[in-house]
Symmetry: C2
Subunit: 225 residues, 2 copies
């Protein structure tokens, strides 16, 4: 086997490993969001605790993936689509780390929320959680399959999340105006809805990176207009 072939094979192996670690990171981040929302809705302090304690794993993986991507750039100096893939991995890694942070923020708000009696049965917030998680999962799926249509589909769903957030806001505002006793816990629910909206924003970023890898076309900003 030629040295060039060997190096190419080595690069492919490293790239596969990088992708696997990134997916693992995505799975952890998504699971943290799911648990944080579950802990809030089902009022489970132990579940909330798990999210707060699990942050370290996401952070460790964040650094590991960054180092892998960086080493890959330094050693193999990939070109064209491979280069776009590695650069996109660095960006997606950042987005996933922020999703992990947002799960922690949701868990912190949930912890405070549980100190009060429930403001109302939570319907739209778990719905927002479902939409945001699915957007994230599909964006990562689109990354693995290099599927720009699935990525575009993720972009289209951002409006659903925005509509739910507006609905949550209006409803909670009504509660707060009617009964000042609900103000403090309602503020935490508002925060949670904002955090979930931002999980959706990060899924959108990932989807845009997928379109960039596949088509070398930059859809950012244009897609948002």
């Amino acid at each position: 086997m030629e040295a060039g072939d060997r190096q190419a094979r080595h690069f492919e192996e490293e790239l596969t490993m990088l992708r696997e670690r990134l997916l693992m990171m995505g799975g952890l981040a998504e699971e943290s969001v799911r648990l944080a929302v579950q802990g809030l809705v089902q009022r489970e302090p132990a579940t909330i605790r798990r999210v707060l304690d699990g942050d370290r794993a996401v952070n460790d993986l964040h650094i590991e993936i960054d180092e892998r991507a960086f080493t890959l750039l330094a050693l193999h100096q990939p070109m064209a689509r491979d280069l776009r893939t590695v650069v996109a991995t660095i960006k997606i890694n950042t987005d996933l780390e922020r999703v992990g942070d947002l799960a922690v923020n949701i868990a912190e708000a949930a912890e405070r929320y549980l100190l009060h009696p429930p403001v109302k049965p939570l319907i739209d917030i778990p719905r927002m959680g479902d939409v945001a998680q699915r957007m994230l999962r599909d964006a990562l799926d689109a990354f693995v399959k290099r599927d720009p249509e699935l990525a575009q589909n993720v972009l289209d769903r951002d409006d659903d999340l925005d509509a739910l957030k507006t609905q949550v806001f209006r409803e909670l505002l009504t509660y707060m105006l009617q009964d000042p006793g609900t103000i403090e816990p309602a503020l935490d629910l508002l925060l949670v809805s904002r955090h979930l909206e931002r999980v959706g924003d990060h899924a959108t970023n990932v989807a845009e990176d997928v379109i960039f890898i596949v088509s070398a076309r930059d859809v950012r900003h244009h897609a948002r207009e």
Copy 2:
């Protein structure tokens, strides 16, 4: 002149240009935050409008810088510190774009806030704006000067911003509990304080990237612990 020298000089020129564009982007993002807070505090709809209309310039620059950095990686395949600089530029560019988005979010909240009578004289929010802007400016300054001490100093100031945010929250909560008429505008002030906190987070990210470039040491997460 050797071909290699010519290429090295070409690379240096491109890198300088990349840095200049990034600083321009930083200046625009910082100015947008400043104007958004000024529009809110001084109740100036025209200033708020300027922020909302100026978003396009930041977005265009974001795409241009990304393309420049990417082309630099593809054509010159830089090594070691040069590679770290280009990768960091891609990350910093993302952070600055988000700061631009946050300025728009602040301007949107300010626009809604002006529909109501003022809740209170705003003291801590402009203070938060000053701290966040200075953190961002110093982080970019640390990037240009490759100054890890200045970068570390930016990281240390994140706690000031957090303390101010907590103070703003407590005070606004008191207003809301006493007078439900203040709930709606106070919610927008709370949002603004969160947005400013996030501007500080992005400055922190930039500072961490600077430390990464200079020392190849990854301070993320460790620094936060």
